[in-house]
């Protein structure tokens, strides 16, 4: 390793294992990273426990000493000069300099002899499990002063905590690397994308029987449709949508839609107000590349005084959800609104209805209507008739009944199919 000995660094302070030590420094990938609260809290603690104005987490690089955290000092790095951190990493134990200006080990150091006028230094090496000393946790004062056993013990314990933090950080980085590697494999990609499209489990919502189905038109090309269901207040929210395109960009937009709608669902919201915010969010996130659009139907359900549910619905480029009444009537609910990500002033509107016990609300995506055989598509009329015939069934049986009808009718899916069925119990 050619960077092991740097021409400007005094050979007397180069450890014997320097090239391996530098490799260890690189492994932690910490040099020139932004400030980190965990390390800043530890230097603040060291400064308080040792009653010094300054505490530093230092990493000794080839020709410089870089500070991961510098409490009480507005300096990010110094040259690798003998006497302080650079010397502290040569041995196992604490490196104590009680009167730096009088101490032959440090009197020539620029920080001591120069304008800063360092008078006191106590440092403990940051030692890896395999014995490499990366740098130090040190405390500094401008005035000379004695140390106590207690301070050295505290500093030693804190140095171990700093090392734990560095290990934790390295594990997290390794995990990220591993994840990135996995993401490169197409198979894993599909699985991850799938998780972004639909919740792992439907929530248990009071008084509501829920079922969902998701059928990609092409197993290898995940993306497109999504749905979500979550509780809010005493009721819940149902979301279904279709984003343009497939793969990672579509999944990113889907994630944005689901997370935005979930976050808004924690506050005071209506479907139209949430879709308006989501529309603005998509427009704001627009880059110079290809524009992306989505269709979404958003539904809010709140218990009413008669054992049923008050329903509000807003639509953004999405077909009407259907209501199946207990007598077999099928109704469309919602007012048509523009695609998401298109109009700056979308003008979404809430439409309302009520669901009595036994009534069923069905949300679906276009793919269901677009399923086709050699001559026809499944279409609205067939969906209405099929749904009416499923009167009296529970949510899961209705979802299965609709999917079976599509499978029986169609020889080919043109697009993904997503389906969300909610029945008032």
């Amino acid at each position: 390793v050619t960077d092991a000995v740097h021409p400007t660094v005094d050979p007397a302070i180069i450890p014997d294992d320097e090239s391996d030590r530098l490799a260890a420094v690189r492994r932690y990938d910490v040099l020139d990273t932004p400030p980190d609260g965990a390390f800043d809290r530890l230097t603040a603690l060291a400064s308080r426990l040792c009653s010094t104005p300054i505490a530093i987490v230092s990493i000794v690089d080839t020709d410089r000493i870089w500070f991961k955290s510098h409490h009480g000092l507005d300096v990010e790095q110094i040259d690798r000069d003998p006497g302080l951190c650079a010397s502290a990493i040569l041995g196992d134990g604490p490196w104590i300099v009680e009167d730096a200006r009088a101490d032959p080990r440090t009197m020539a150091n620029p920080l001591v002899a120069g304008e800063f006028g360092l008078g006191f230094y106590a440092g403990v090496p940051l030692t890896t499990a395999d014995g490499f000393r990366l740098g130090t946790l040190c405390v500094i004062d401008q005035e000379p002063r004695p140390t106590t056993e207690r301070e050295i013990a505290d500093l030693t314990d804190l140095a171990a905590v700093v090392m734990d933090e560095l290990e934790l950080r390295r594990s997290a980085l390794q995990l990220l690397e591993l994840e990135a590697e996995q993401r490169r494999s197409a198979e894993t990609l599909a699985a991850i994308l799938q998780e972004s499209l639909v919740p792992a489990d439907l929530p248990a919502l009071d008084g509501l029987d829920l079922a969902a189905r998701y059928l990609p038109a092409d197993q290898a090309r995940v993306g497109g449709d999504f749905y979500d269901a979550f509780g809010c207040g005493a009721g819940g929210a149902l979301i279904i949508g279709d984003v343009s395109g497939h793969g990672p960009p579509a999944a990113a937009l889907t994630g944005m839609a689901r997370h935005t709608l979930r976050a808004l669902g924690r506050g005071d919201w209506t479907p139209a107000s949430s879709l308006t915010v989501l529309n603005a969010t998509i427009l704001d996130a627009r880059t110079s590349g290809e524009r992306r659009f989505a269709t979404v139907a958003a539904v809010r359900l709140d218990p009413d005084d008669h054992g049923g549910l008050a329903v509000s619905v807003a639509l953004a480029g999405h077909p009407h959800p259907l209501v199946l009444r207990t007598d077999g009537r099928v109704e469309e609910v919602g007012r048509l609104g523009p695609l998401l990500g298109w109009r700056p002033v979308p003008g979404f509107e809430d439409d309302t209805t009520t669901l009595a016990p036994g009534d069923v609300l069905v949300l679906y995506t276009d793919g269901l209507l677009d399923a086709e055989n050699d001559t026809e598509r499944f279409g609205d009329d067939r969906l209405h008739t099929t749904l009416a015939g499923l009167r009296g069934a529970d949510a899961d049986a209705i979802a299965s009944g609709l999917m079976d009808a599509v499978a029986t009718f169609a020889s080919r899916l043109r697009d993904d199919v997503a389906l969300l069925v909610a029945r008032v119990v």
Partner: protein, 107 residues
């Protein structure tokens, strides 16, 4: 992909005011690049407005809606408009559901 490229064909009929794109086939994710390229080509002729002849479009999905929305915005920014002619009831319904019919003249 060569095979799926065949599912969409676009002819451009030049016109000083409103060139027409005569589209045959299916508009979906696979064929969308070809349609986008044809739209760029037609707009490069200098007119602000476009007409789409959908008489021979057998299928369109949400990708097509996105393309029409973008194209309508581009045309309106240039002071023009987009017109769709000969669309099937299914495509007309899609334009209604997405509210594209509020800015696109569906003839």
């Amino acid at each position: 992909l060569a095979e799926s490229d065949d599912i969409l064909h676009v002819d451009i009929k030049p016109d000083d005011v409103r060139p027409t794109l005569v589209i045959s086939g299916e508009i979906d994710l696979v064929s969308s690049a070809r349609l986008r390229a044809a739209i760029d080509e037609a707009l490069a002729l200098g007119a602000a407005s476009l007409e789409f002849d959908f008489s021979h479009v057998s299928f369109m999905d949400s990708t097509g809606l996105g393309i029409l929305a973008s194209t309508s915005d581009r045309a309106m920014e240039a002071g023009g408009s987009v017109r769709v002619r000969g669309a099937s009831p299914t495509v007309v319904r899609l334009l209604e559901v997405s509210r594209l019919d509020s800015v696109i003249d569906v003839a």
